[in-house]
Structure formats: structure tokens, C-alpha cells
Symmetry: C2
Subunit: 211 residues, 2 copies
């Protein structure tokens, strides 16, 4: 009897450590599947199609949406972003969990979809806004204008913290990672996510009856 | 702002390791409050009033039930057992979690009470019935008849495994304890169980507005 995979949604403002947490979780559990988003924005230097994003034209993206192939999608800063549905359904059937690094709009749509009961959602908060800005500026590849836009988006993103199952304040990345791991491990111990339990109990009952 | 304590309910057939797990959890976290049950059964040698149980006469027990002072109660083998409500409410207000070592009847009643949303329930299964019986006989203080009665009760108890949030198969006590700990730690990270988060986010917003 196969286990049904869960959907682990990680959201946070840019710079709160979400991507680092996602990367470390993928390293810790190679059976996790990372949901690569599709986007209409242009690739940045070093980005590879199918790794950071599936890069799509606006027409391609819109036809995927029309065909019901997106689990969620939204427009941000004039570009479309979305999570292709097919790979998620395949992973679930294989009993593999899928990790989503998406924003509140995507989280909200998946939670309200038919797959809502399989969602475990975690919001990552920065310890302070000064620290958030420091981390954003540390990347050093964006202009002041882009940074200002990101900070405005961060405030909007943070306003949705209360829609999530769990909240982690990322003061220390190792501590935050352990908390994320604890959440994933506990959610996997939920009765309805453990494969073969019903069969195991049937075995116990046979043993009782044979006494 | 004070945190509202949760109610951690641990159920299992006798001999599955539940009491050992409960004791180790209490040692690990001294802020946990153990819910001492009230009972009308006679004390066994070595048992102390207020430690293993609150020992009550039938009349005392019935008047507590009538006064609404029991969170749950049930009759087992002709004796009454119940969880006094007062200490639980006090612990919750103090932000302390309460640990219940109770059977499926008690678990069901608390889950269906006004405090149901504060419940985290864990069922502990033995690795096999042979092992369960071995552990029960290892205690060596009970007659064959009592053992037979316990085994019948064990089968009935196990039949309620699917009513619990989490299930732990206790093959190895250290592994089982780590799983229990993981569950408690994750449940404490749930957004609605973390004190002061709303205030923390208000602080972040003030920081945004002051930029």
C-alpha cells in the first residue's frame, strides 16, 4: 500500500532564508521533490531552464493555465509565475513529498485546491527588517530601485503570515533548519500519512485471534 | 501575551510502553504537567494518593462528575477513572502543556469536548502481540486471569488506533521517544500555539513604516 505524498509549502519575504532552508532540506532528504516553477520572466545570468525555473513565453504560460496544467499561478511585477501540476501528482502517487518555494498567492491557491488536505505550510519570518534589508543588499546584484520594490513586496508577503500552519523566525539558520526538519518529520508521523498501518493492525488482530 | 497550553493525549494498550514514554517526556520537559487521574479502584502496594492516582470513593467520584469537575470519565472493570478538569484549565492558562496517559474512551471524550482544538493525540502500538504479552508477563505481579483480561482490553484499545492524530509503533523505546518528542516540538511550532507572534509582526511593520 503506497503512501500519499504531502505538499510542503515554504513562503517568506525575499531574504528571510527560505531558499537556503529549501536547499538544505533537499540535501537532507533526496526523496523530496522540489517543485520547479514556470515563469514568463527572462532568465538571469547563470539560471538554467528546468533548474531555477521553466522559462516560458506568455503564450505558452497562458495555454498551460487554460489547459488546467497549473496548480497555482499569479502575476508579480508584470510576470507570471506558476506551479505545474503534473509533476506534483506524479510525486504524490509515488509517495514522495513535494517542496514548494512559493509566495502567499500560490500558497493560498494550493491550500484552497483539491489537494488542500495534503498541504503543510510554513512561513519563515526574518528576525528584523534591518536584517532582511541587509541580506537583500548583500546579494549586491540588484539596483536600489529593485531593492525598494522587494522591500514593499516583503511587507505585503509578511502580512499573510497568519494563513500558515507553522511559523519559523529565522534568527539562526541552523536552528531554523532543525525546526523545519522537525515539522516535516512530525507531519510524516500523522496517522493518515503512514503507509501500511491498517495492514499492520490487521496483523496484530490475527495474532490476538490465534492466541 | 500568554501561550495557551496544549493537551497531549497518549493512549495505547497496557504494555506497549506508554508509561515509559510519558515518564521520559516529563523528565525531558519539567514544564509539562502530568494529568493525574482520579479512580475508585483500590490503591496497589506502593501507590500514593495524588501521585499514581487520586483515590476516591464511589460517592466522591460521582459527586465530582455531577459537579462537572471531570474532563472525561469512564468505567473499566467495574471501577471509575477520570481526569479532573481544574488542574488542566489552570495549566492551559499558564501556557503549560498537559500530558494525559488515558485510554481511548478518555481520549474520545476530550477530543469531543470544548477543549478539542487544543488536543494532540498519539497512539502507541506494540511491535507484536507476542511482545505485548511478554511485557505484560514481565511485570509478574498479576495473575493469569488478570493478564487474560488485560489482553482482551488491549485488543479493544488497539481497535481505536485510527481515532488518533499520530501513531508510533514502539519497536525501540529510544526511537519511539524521539518520535514523540518530534511530535510535541512540531505541535508547539504551530502558528496558533506560538505566543507573541502577532506582536512580533507588528514590530516588523513598524520597522517597515519607519524606513
Amino acid at each position: 500500500m503506497s503512501r500519499r505524498g504531502l505538499l510542503l509549502i515554504l513562503s517568506s519575504p525575499s531574504g528571510a532564508g527560505k531558499s537556503t532552508l529549501a536547499r538544505r532540506l533537499m540535501e537532507w532528504d533526496p526523496t523530496l521533490r522540489f517543485s520547479v516553477s514556470a515563469t514568463t520572466r527572462a532568465p538571469r545570468p547563470g539560471e538554467e531552464d528546468g533548474r531555477e525555473y521553466y522559462f516560458k513565453s506568455r503564450a505558452e504560460f497562458e495555454s498551460m493555465v487554460a489547459a488546467g496544467e497549473m496548480l497555482e499561478h499569479a502575476e508579480v511585477f508584470g510576470n507570471f509565475y506558476g506551479s505545474p501540476k503534473g509533476p506534483v501528482e506524479t510525486a504524490m502517487k509515488e509517495g514522495r513529498d513535494t517542496l514548494f518555494d512559493i509566495d502567499w498567492q500560490g500558497g493560498q491557491q494550493i491550500r484552497n485546491s483539491a489537494l488542500g488536505r495534503d498541504v503543510v505550510s510554513v512561513f519563515v519570518l526574518p528576525p528584523s527588517i534591518a536584517e532582511l534589508e541587509r541580506r537583500l543588499r548583500g546579494r549586491a546584484q540588484d539596483s536600489n530601485e529593485v531593492i525598494a520594490g522587494r522591500m514593499a513586496k516583503s511587507q505585503a508577503e509578511i502580512s499573510h503570515w497568519a494563513e500558515y500552519d507553522y511559523v519559523i523566525v529565522n534568527t539562526d539558520i541552523d536552528k531554523a533548519f532543525n525546526e523545519l526538519l522537525t515539522i516535516l518529520q512530525a507531519e510524516r508521523m500523522r496517522r493518515d500519512r503512514q503507509p501500511g498501518l491498517a495492514e499492520f493492525v490487521r496483523g496484530l488482530n490475527k495474532e490476538f485471534d490465534a492466541r
